[in-house]
């Protein structure tokens, strides 16, 4: 259920074991030693579909156990989950908005992944993007045309996310500090900055008029908000269009341009790329900054969506879920779209799980992480090594 669609994986790379990773073109046919487990006719066993189905089954099994443990019946919970995902037009719209956020973060993750970096800082970059988006958004005049205001908000988010990831990029390139550790720590600082901004009137907090004034920003001006796709029926915004367009652009750049090839070369072997004269540091730094930019864009999208305010609970785990999408998609942007669609709907259904069936919403989070653990554990089996970490 989570496996990327076959045509995507197959068209992106050579058929065979490498199909699980678009940039791992046919290593197994040229080097018999690595194909120890898989004579060519058993190669299909290593495809992500074969891996994804049992992993998803295990995750679903755990979820069912947790549902039973909390005193609900699986049927009730399933109904609540389905209602939350696509029971009403409203639910579908909210789900699609969530999908867009996950997709943007995962698109960015894929860019960094291509040069072999693991960006675990989506949460912090999203926070900074939301901060910048809000800072610009509340200042916009209502008279400004939306065609100008909304792009300004989104651009501010992208820039802020890129700068935030740029800190990690600088440390990685100049000092050799692992981007995993720095982006991870920057998450906590980013979350702290949002909390700071919404608690201080001098920053972004709305004017405090009574003791009941919530610690949140003023709403983003109407000229900075994302237009709704179909205002009459659904809260879905054009965020999903922005996300799909981003995925398409990145897919084309990665697959069909010289930059894409350079990124891939640097990711496959930094020393070899260096010897070939590629600016490996610039490629790594740039890719990480772009990854942060997309996460920042996701943050700006969040504040440009109803209720149009910045508050402390804004990100609520999108950073991690986006990382999961990126990890599961393993570099394929078609898979990013598919997995984001699945997880986005699941997460938004999970909220209703708590409201309607009394099952803790964390059930979905547990299932999600069980899924990642299973996939990570079976990674060797599919012969696809994730870009970062073990270097």
């Amino acid at each position: 259920m989570t496996a990327p669609p076959r045509p995507a994986a197959a068209s992106a790379s050579a058929p065979g074991p490498g199909a699980s990773r678009p940039d791992a073109d046919r290593p197994d046919t040229s080097r018999p030693g690595t194909a120890r487990f898989s004579p060519a006719r058993l190669a299909w066993l290593r495809s992500p579909v074969v891996l994804g189905v049992p992993a998803a089954a295990i995750a679903a099994g755990v979820a069912v156990l947790l549902v039973i443990g909390s005193g609900a019946t699986p049927a009730e919970a399933g109904q609540a989950l389905a209602d939350g995902m696509f029971g009403t037009d409203y639910a579908i719209g909210v789900s699609f908005n969530g999908v867009a956020v996950l997709m943007l973060i995962a698109v960015g993750f894929s860019v960094a992944h291509r040069v072999g970096l693991v960006n675990v800082g989506g949460e912090g970059q999203l926070c900074l993007g939301a901060l910048a988006g809000t800072a610009v958004g509340v200042k916009l005049g209502d008279g400004l045309p939306r065609a100008l205001g909304t792009p300004l908000v989104l651009a501010a988010g992208f820039a802020a996310g890129a700068l935030w990831a740029g800190i990690a990029a600088y440390l990685k390139v100049r000092r050799g500090t692992s981007e995993v550790i720095t982006t991870l720590l920057l998450n906590f600082v980013g979350i702290g900055l949002v909390s700071l901004a919404v608690h201080e009137e001098a920053l972004l907090r709305q004017p405090v008029t009574s003791s009941e004034t919530l610690p949140q920003s003023e709403p983003v001006a109407s000229s900075g908000r994302l237009p709704l796709l179909d205002a009459a029926t659904s809260p879905a915004t054009i965020a999903i269009v922005v996300a799909v367009a981003s995925a398409l652009v990145v897919a084309v750049v990665l697959r069909h341009t010289a930059t894409g090839l350079r990124l891939k070369a640097a990711g496959r072997s930094a020393p070899a790329a260096r010897r070939a004269g590629l600016p490996v540091g610039r490629l790594e730094g740039g890719a990480l900054a772009v990854a942060g930019g997309f996460a920042g864009l996701a943050g700006a999208v969040l504040v440009a969506t109803a209720p149009y305010v910045l508050d402390e609970g804004l990100s609520s785990g999108y950073g991690f879920a986006g990382l999961v999408v990126g990890l599961l998609a393993r570099g394929s942007l078609t898979a990013v779209a598919a997995v984001a669609l699945l997880l986005g709907f699941l997460v938004s259904g999970g909220i209703n799980l708590q409201i309607a069936a009394g099952v803790p919403a964390s059930t979905v989070q547990v299932a999600q992480s069980v899924l990642v653990v299973c996939i990570a554990g079976a990674m060797r089996w599919t012969a696809a090594r994730p870009g970062g970490g073990a270097r």
Partner: protein
């Protein structure tokens, strides 16, 4: 007590859970396994110790439950990163999310009714005389029974696995050159398993210390990133015992600033104080301590070839 004394004492008390977790993590990283899941191990330990203490009515049983749960959790990390040779970063982050989700779920389902019940926990046992020494006394000699045990355990681990013992050398061999260690007859995977489980033990104890000696309750995501601080302390301490311990105390004091800043006359927004340990940690890993060399096989899984 003077504010400075408060800050020092608060810092050491907040540092103790981090120090515990970091002591196991240091050994594990020297053996070549990075446990980002330390955060999840601590959270699991905190949750299980509170659940155990509530069920049994005995804080000691709670500690045992916490440690057992965290070691089981560490076994998951060990199987994945040593036997299945999975990416340690991915496993660590996923395991943390798993622990966060599972303990949040668990506290809804298991602690739901006793949410307001008093958790059997540990009281401070100041050492007569010594705890009255200005500044140092309250910081070092006013811990709970669990706290003293934790300090002793950290010291024992530090000594037993120092670079001057056979044990410490074996650990370093597994982390610096797994292949050679294997050829010379050392059980590389066994050592790594033991080290990851040790990290689970100390992190679980750290979680129990946090929940039963400091907070006296379990709250959702109560570790809130201090497990990551423990990992960073090891890196900032350049994989050496004393600098790592110092880094932990430093992070502890940065955390304690939240509570003592007003008394010290420092008027900073809470959010700034909450994120300050992470800013300091970032500075620490980004070269403030100078370049350092990680164990050569850190995050590199080992398998015999040929």
């Amino acid at each position: 007590m003077s504010p400075v004394s408060d800050l020092l004492s608060g810092g050491v008390h907040l540092a103790l859970p981090v120090l515990l977790a970091a002591s196991g993590e240091l050994i594990s990283e020297r053996a070549g396994v990075l446990n980002l899941s330390l955060e999840g191990m601590m959270l699991t330990g905190a949750f299980a110790s509170v659940a155990g203490a509530l069920q049994s009515g005995d804080a000691t049983v709670g500690v045992l439950c916490g440690v057992a749960a965290a070691v089981l959790f560490a076994a998951l990390q060990a199987v994945l990163s040593v036997t299945l040779r999975a990416d340690q970063v991915v496993v660590g982050i996923a395991a943390n999310a798993l622990a966060l989700g599972a303990t949040t779920y668990g506290s809804r389902v298991m602690l739901g009714d006793d949410r307001n019940a008093t958790v059997p926990s540990f009281d401070e046992l100041p050492v007569p005389g010594l705890s009255d020494i200005p500044y140092v006394g309250p910081a070092l000699f006013a811990h709970t029974a669990l706290g003293y045990a934790a300090l002793a355990l950290v010291a024992v681990i530090g000594l037993a696995a120092s670079r001057r013992t056979g044990l410490g050398l074996a650990v370093d061999a597994a982390g610096e050159d797994a292949e050679t260690a294997d050829r010379s007859g050392l059980p590389v995977r066994g050592i790594r398993y033991a080290c990851v489980l040790l990290a689970g033990l100390t992190a679980g104890l750290g979680g129990a210390q946090l929940a039963l000696s400091e907070v006296h309750a379990f709250t959702d995501n109560m570790t809130a990133g201090i497990g990551y601080l423990a990992v960073v302390a090891v890196i900032a301490g350049r994989w050496r015992a004393l600098p790592t311990a110092l880094a932990c105390v430093f992070f502890g004091i940065a955390q304690a600033l939240q509570f003592t800043a007003p008394a010290l006359g420092v008027d900073l927004p809470v959010a700034v104080l909450v994120m300050s340990p992470y800013v300091i940690a970032l500075l620490a890993v980004s070269g403030l301590v100078g370049r350092s060399r990680a164990p050569a096989c850190l995050t590199v899984p080992f398998a015999r070839t040929g």
